[in-house]
């Protein structure tokens, strides 16, 4: 017998939150100096109790809030999320902030733009939007606010 997808997801999600809550509570009661953990103990105790309560309800199948994620949504999210995470955790520093931003912006636009990929005009539009956005970002942050961003391999 297979469990319905949302119920299994609720168990996993609330289980993860409960694991974090219990870990935090355990750490706050075991770390030194104890004086620095007085407030965290107070908070983490309530955190752990509420998280375990939520986990217990999920195990019993009595969770009433949250619809979980269906497979279509997961499939839609996956490519964009991968692009975003690669952009933030690797490309921004390695390739350079503006280069990575340009590539990520263009990639997301291309992946999610409903305009047909076989039409040259769609590609030109995406390039113009990408260039315009990055020009505004450069003007605002680099020129106006003097924010010095990582240069990486390119810019």
């Amino acid at each position: 017998m297979t469990m319905p997808l949302p119920r299994a997801q609720h168990i996993v999600a609330s289980g993860l939150v409960a694991a974090v809550g219990v870990t935090v509570a355990w750490l706050s009661y075991t770390q030194e100096p104890a004086e620095a953990f007085v407030f965290p103990r107070l908070i983490s105790t309530v955190f752990a109790v509420l998280a375990l309560w939520t986990f217990g309800k999920a195990l019993l199948g009595r969770t009433r809030f949250g619809n979980g994620l269906d497979r279509t949504a997961m499939a839609n999210i996956a490519p964009g999320l991968v692009v975003a995470l690669v952009y933030i955790f690797w490309a921004a520093e390695t390739l350079g902030f503006y280069t990575a931003s340009t590539l990520a912006f263009f990639a997301i636009l291309t992946l999610y733009d409903p305009a047909p990929h076989g039409v040259l005009r769609s590609w030109l539009k995406r390039l113009i939007i990408t260039g315009g956005f990055l020009a505004v970002m450069y003007g605002l942050f680099a020129l106006l606010l003097n924010v010095f961003t990582p240069r990486g391999l390119f810019f």
Binding site: A36, F47, L50, I77, Y87, L111
Partner: protein
Amino acid sequence: MEFLGYFGEVFAPANFGLLLLGTIGGLILGATPGLSPTMAVALLIPFTFRLEPAQGLILLGAAYTSTVAGGAVSAILLKIPGAPANIATTLDGHTMAMKGQGARALQLSFIASAVGGVVGVLLLIFLTPMLAQWALAFGPSHLFWLAILGVTVIGSLDSGSVVKGLLSGCIGLWLATIGFDDIMGAQRFIFHPSVAGGINVIPALIGLFAIPQVITMLARGRQPSGAEALTVERHPVGKAFREVFSRSRALTIGTVTGAVIGLVPGVGGQIAGLVAYDQAKKLSPERDKFGTGHSEGVIAAESANNAMVGPSLVPLLTLSIPGSPTAAVLLGGLLIHGIFPGSDLFDNYPDVAWTFINSMLVGQILMCIFGLYVAGLAARVAQVPNAVMAAVVLGLAVFGSYSVQNSMGDVYVMAALGTGMYFLERFGFSAAPLVLGLILGPIAEANFIQGSMIANATSSIGQYFFTGGLNLLLIVLVVASIAYSVWMELRDRRVTTKDEVIGEREARP
């Protein structure tokens, strides 16, 4: 009526020009997701070095006022609060925009902001000495309970699970403890070097609100456009004025709540909008409509945000205690001009103090006028296709987070919290109480520690935190807010169960 003697100074060409610049610039910065009032005012401080003290303060004050109001634009159109103060505005404002009433929501928010703002500045002018005395009555134990109340109240804001709302608040309070302990200097929960200095509120706020929105847009896939959900139709300004004043209960609750919360040192505007929204919801005969795009939600939240601005300066100007994070940055602006706020400020620098306060009064009117103009043009923002909006919001989130401290660590924190929040939201958790926990955590902890020290030196901790009229009142409010929310949830559950039973009966052959 001493302030009237300095009113002409506001309209001197240079002063008025700076007031206009600060107002318009503040509206644009406020409408830009990730650029909070605190950040805008901090960024403007270097520009005031060469200005006269009064001019510099006019610029900073105008930016403070208009960024708080401008944050409503992105809250309503993008569901990304431009500032923590605009969190509550997203609840009904964005829903109105989703229904094609974006222009109406924006107009209501700017008019309510101006009304609340004018009342707040008038309070600053007329009641400064008395209100400062009242704010002084709050000791560490009261501030601790007030911070806890801020978190528990938010549990009821989310119409879903009270337990998950409170759990979200606890997660936020725990996140606030990450980093070095202020008193002992001990490391706490530092799992990665990016959080060694603690979690900066601004990147966290950007991540918790922007990234789930980006992922939600991505989840729609290659659909033609998300623009139809944010279609903004024209809406007559006169009608918006009439609507704001016809919703006098929400306007009054918002204005009074914002003014009172603004007075409390350290709490500031973050919770003003949320508490006002919650109170307006509880006291409204149309409470069922809240969260579904009800105008009272926008009016209460936005009038509270700006009503907080004036009173938050009362403790700053009279006692050097900033009433909000932005007020704390303004304190820096005063000090660089050699002006030390305190009880003798109005004796030593009456021209600077009164010109600054008067400019804030005029600034509220200018903010309303230019805000309404922005509201008319804001329709264009809503027409941006889904894919473009997702990419733009992601880019702004990354650039905005990085620019706070020029740190990639902040970007990592933003991305991690935002991605985690999206998945938590899918399981009934909520970003608002988590953010409130994160913002109020340091206030709660600092006052808890301070109160404990006082208690150890004078009485017992139990006696210090659990006795006294104000402590008991706040504790009762904490318990009542949780109990009321639990009762509401149980009542809704009974109603749902009845409906389900009815549905089952009807479905039977």
